[in-house]
Symmetry: C2
Subunit: 358 residues, 2 copies
Amino acid sequence: MSIIVEFFFTETFPFDILYYCCDMPQITIKELAARLNLSISTVSRALSDSHEISKATRDKVRALAQELNYIPNLYASGLRSQKSKTIAVIIPEILNNFFALAIDGIEEIAQQNGYHVLIYLTHDDHIKEAAMVQHLLNGRVDGILMSVAAETKDTSHIAEFANMQIPVVFFDRICDDFKTIKFVTDDEHCGFIATKHLAERGCKNIAYLSLSKNLSIDQKRMDGYLDACKNLQLKTNIIACTQKDIENEQIISNLLKTDKSIDGIFASVEKLAISTYEVCNRLHINIPGQLKIISFSNLRIASLLKPSLTTINQPAFEIGKQAAVALFRALKNNTIFTQSEEIVVPSTLIIRDSTAAK
Amino acid sequence: MSIIVEFFFTETFPFDILYYCCDMPQITIKELAARLNLSISTVSRALSDSHEISKATRDKVRALAQELNYIPNLYASGLRSQKSKTIAVIIPEILNNFFALAIDGIEEIAQQNGYHVLIYLTHDDHIKEAAMVQHLLNGRVDGILMSVAAETKDTSHIAEFANMQIPVVFFDRICDDFKTIKFVTDDEHCGFIATKHLAERGCKNIAYLSLSKNLSIDQKRMDGYLDACKNLQLKTNIIACTQKDIENEQIISNLLKTDKSIDGIFASVEKLAISTYEVCNRLHINIPGQLKIISFSNLRIASLLKPSLTTINQPAFEIGKQAAVALFRALKNNTIFTQSEEIVVPSTLIIRDSTAAK
DNA sequence: TTGTACGCGTTATCAG
DNA sequence: CTGATAACGCGTACAA
C-alpha cells in the first residue's frame, strides 16, 4: 500500500524529487560570516550575546540570522560545549493519568526553558530501565527526571549518573538509595486517611491491593494502611497484584469469591481500582453496598463512574512541574544534587459514592 | 525546603562532592584505541561492524568496549554523519487516551530500532507548532511523526521538512496539503455509522459536537454525520465547541436547555462526551432516556461509566505503531515520502448503555 | 587489513 | 572589539 520513493535505488527520478534534491544549504554560522564579511567567531559571539561585541555588528548579525532563519546545530554545539539542551523523562508507563499529567507539567517547563524532552518508557522492566540509563550516560542529556520501575530493586545503574555529573530528579516512584531531590505526595498519610475513611464508613475487613513491594509509593501507602488498621484494631489483608490487568482481575476475583467478609478495598494504584470494578460487575457485587472502594487515582472522570469512585487525588501536574523546575534550577547553576531531600506535595481525598455508607 | 548544592558558589564542599568531582573520563573511541594500541579509525570500524576488519581485532575491540561500558557520543556521530538516531513526535496533547496510546506504540517501535523519541506538545496552538517545527529543521531529528494542531490552517511551516529531506509521517490529524504517508482511521464511515446507530435507537434530532473546522478528522466525521442525516432525512445541528472544557460545558448546557427536542449527541472527540456527561448530571438529564450519546473515544473504562458509553473505538496503539514502522522504513532506505497516501486502520463501534433504546 | 588526516558546526583560547 | 586557530568525538577517503 505505502509508497516509498527510494532515492538511491530507483532508476527514474520523478520530477518533484529533483526539486527536493537541490535542497537549500543549511544555514550555518560560517555562511552568515561569509555574507557579512565577518569572522566565524565574531558571528558566534554576536549570537550568544557576548559582551565583547559592538551593538552595531551584534544587530547586523542577528538581523541576518533572523532573515535566513538560522537555527544553531545542536549536535555541533552539544559536541563542543557538552550541553544538549535536552532532558530525559524515564517513566514506567504512559497509559496512566498520573504520568500523562506529569509529562504535561514537565513539557511546559521544558518549553519555557528552551529545552527538548526525550521520553523513555520502561514498562516497569528493570532490564530495559538499566539499558536506557546506560544510553544516557554519555552526555546525551543535561538532566533526568525519573520515576523508577516497579521491578527495580538494584539501583546501581542509577548511581552512575552522579559520577557523570548529570543531575537527576525523582518523582513519585523514588529510589531511596540515591541521594538527590525527590518529589512525592504524602503517601503514608494518605494511606492512613484512606483506610480510616473506609473504616468510618463501616468497613470491618479492608483488603489492600499492592502493586509491588519494591515500589516506594506502594510501601508507604501500605505503611499508612497497616498503621490505620492497627489503630482501629482491624485485621490486615495485603493482596499482591501484578503488572497485568488480566492476572489482577483473576486475583481480585478469587479474593472476593473466597472471603465474603471483605467489605472494603483500598487500591494502591488506579488500575487496580478499575480491575476491581470490572470484577464486581462480573460477580454482581454491589458497590458500595457489599463492598466499598477507595483508590489513589488521577482519573478525570472518577465522578462519572458507576458508582462514582472515591479517590486520593495526586497533584500529578504540579509534581511534574515542580520536579522540572528543580531540575532546571540545577542546570542553570551547573550543579548536581548531592543530598536526599523529599518535597511533599499533598494529595486530596475526594469522597464519592463508592464509599457511601449503606 | 529544597537543598541544592552549588558547586561554584558555596564555600564548603561536602566530602562526597569532592568524590564526584574527580569524575571518570568519558570513554571514547580514542581511549579504546590507546589502550589497544590501535588507531582510532580501526576501532571505529570495528565497532561499526565494517567488513574490512579482521575478526580478531574486531572481537578484541568489542570486548574492551563492552568491558569499559563504551557508549558512542551521539553528538559527535550526529555531527559527522548528519544522523541523530532520534525522531520527534509532535502532538496536540497528551491528556488524551488516543495520543497516550499512540505514543506507547511509537515508543515501542522506536526502542526496537534503537531510536530516541522527542515529545512536543502543541496544545493545539499554531504558533507553538510552527516554532517547534522550526527547531527541528536543522538535523535535530531524522524523522517526524505528527498530528497537527486544531488551530493549524496554514501549513507552510510543515512544507519545509521536504526541503530539508526529513521524512514526515502524519497520523490521525493529518494535513492534506503536504505530500506524505498518512495513517488515519475510517473517520467518515464511522461518522456515518455512529449517526445511523443513534437514529436506529430512536433519535430524531441529533447534534454533532465539533472541535474545530480546521481539523481533518473533525471534517470527515462531520461529513459522515451530514451524509447519514441526509440519508435518514434528519435535520442537522452542528455545534462548534472549543479547546476549553469549561466553555464547552457552557455551550452544551445552553444547547440542551434551549432546544429540548435534542435527543442524541454525537461527540467528535472524547472530551466532548465527558463534558456532555457532566452537563447531563448537572441538569438531571437522563441518559439514555432523554438523551443518547455516542463518541469517538479510547477510554479504557467507557464500560464503567454511568451509564456505560457507546464508543467508536480507534486503534490508537496500532496507528502509532504502524506510523512508526513506516517512518523507520523510510529512514532505513534513506528516503522521504513524496506521494500522498492514506492508510486506513478501521475503528470499531462498541455499543453500550448510553445509546440503549428506551 | 590497518593507519593518517581531514572535516562536520560550534565554542573557547589565544593574539592582535 | 575582532580574527585566526584549536579542539569536541567520530566517520571516512585515501594512502600504506
